[in-house]
Amino acid sequence: MAATDDGYVRPAREAPVSSSDRGDRLLEAAMAVVEWPFTRLQRLIGLRRMPWVFVLPNMALFTIFVFIPVLLAIGYAFTGGTELLLWNRPFVGFENFSRLLSCGSYLDPATCELDLFWTAVFNTTWYTAFNATGTLVVSLVTALVLNRLTRGKAFFRAIFFYPVLLSPVVVALVWKWFLARNGLLNAVFADLMGERTIFLLEVLWSRFWVVYVSIWFHMGFYTLIILAGLQAIPRDIYEAALIDGTTRWRQFWRLTLPLLMPNLLVVLVLLLIRSVQVFDEAWVLTDGGGPGTANTFVVQFIYETAFATDVRLYGLASAASVLMGLALLVLTLVQLWLGKKAEN
């Protein structure tokens, strides 16, 4: 089948009969079978209603699995008990929220009623701060380096992007093995320090590696976005600067960085949004947030409160989800606002 310039669609070939031709005919027949009910339907309901037929399957799934849950999410946060079905759950008002938020002092998780939640909030905060800054700096440097390459750009871009495509479980296991007691890092570390360290069982080391692995995992994605921003900067600006004898250092601070700033801000907010939701790779890497609760994050708290305990507290988990959703909403609005500003 080919659409020609005049828009007329005609069969690719009529004769002679060959085996590939028979294949074509089979395909043709199969396509006709798929077409038939839709053609009938169109005769039945008319052309103007057909677009609804096209959006309907997608919209139905979308409504069932996204819109309805969004509406229900709020409902869950105000109900208690351990029943899963919303209509069987007793209304408890703000009880879930007040439990989450009742603290002697907000600066000390130990004084809170749900100390695990506040530990998770604190852990998520420091993780977000370090991860967002670290990823931004590493991605920016990599994008700048890639942008000035004349040869091998596609190759190195691909190398830096590759980890992004791996699964969180794979990434966590690869690094768990690298950091293991018998791992490669200990082989080097034992030579230098005289003894082996079980990195993931020490609080500070484990936190360091959780952030490090996360940067390693995701930086390629942000590098690509920043690189696209860099390539959008017109080249003649630099030529003008070169004629003026501007030093490169100055060029970076006075030209590249200001011109890139809208792009960088969007990347930063995106990073914050993603960092707040940290779960998969950190959870597998640290065997469920360890050592102790040193790497327990908010999503882990939600997941475990709702799904990984005997007493499934869906209401409490949903209240925590709603609080996190609010934080993300603020960040999203900031991003939209920044995006709009960047467009102008």
């Binding site: 000035r148 976005i225 590249t256």
Partner: protein, 347 residues
Amino acid sequence: MLGFLTRTRGKSRMDVTDILAWAWLILGTLVIAIPIGWAFLSSFKPEAEINSFPPTLLPRAAEELAIDGYDEPLPAYAWTDEQGETRTVGLVRRIGLKATVVDPASPGERLSVDASAIEKQTVLRPEWSNYTDPLERFAFLTYLKNSVFVTTVATILTLVLNSMAAFALSKYRFRGSTTIFVLMLSTLMLPLSVIMVPAFMVVVGLNLADNLWGVIFSTVATPTGVFLLRQYMLTIPDDLIEAARVDAASEFRIYWRIILPLSAPALAVLAIFSVIWRWNDFLWPLIVLSSPENYTLQLGLNAFQGQFTVQWHYILSMTVVALLPVTLIFLFLQRYITEGVASSGVK
């Protein structure tokens, strides 16, 4: 010092910034390649060697000698005798400081030698049983099948349903089309972690909990896919559709025979992404699927590594299996992927 952060090009001479830039690239490449390469090499090591420290780089296994008169092959040792000559011998037994060895040249004669004078011989040999054992003895074949099923079916459904919706949203003006599009886009930023509990209730309500279809159906209506395809279909001229209508083609025929073939590049990008997403999915399957026979590869791998923490030879081989499809896709299609990401900002 940070002069390399600036950009100039076309210089004939390497200067400090070039050196720093290349150092960064080479360092980055090593940082990315070494952990993966190390896991890959380790996945071929026999169990005994994977637990030895300091580690060896390449997978080695004990060499064995078949000697006449012995039913089983004997482990090969290098024996340095009193004259300083080294011979390869088979070890019969070792008791304390003494070892009994046999020279393959004279199989009838047993020699008693100092245990310190012999050294174990190894050969370079990948341990393929690391890969076959988990598939045969553990449920990894089931996990693999489940993952392939979910990935294939979800990707096909994603392509069909998203392209139909994108067709309607790009080629027709009908009441509510803008609303639908905006509603869909607004959920682009909505993370699963916020609607975990109610989404699970919906799956339970549809009787799809602990069912692969529960994982599939909830992931196919991606706003990203609809957006990507819609933007592409907007570039296809409407004249084609008008002409087809004049020829009395039905609307579905227009979608099926004209728009879909012409959208092939965008469909390809979405297909690549969908395969990678579904293959790598973790949190949602973790919530929906509860019995091990329904686990996908990612869940099975996670459960296995939690249960058998010391079986690194199996964990690593299955990790390699899990990263292989994505790696192959990347090797052959990386241009589409990096360009798709750069132009649409999806991941």
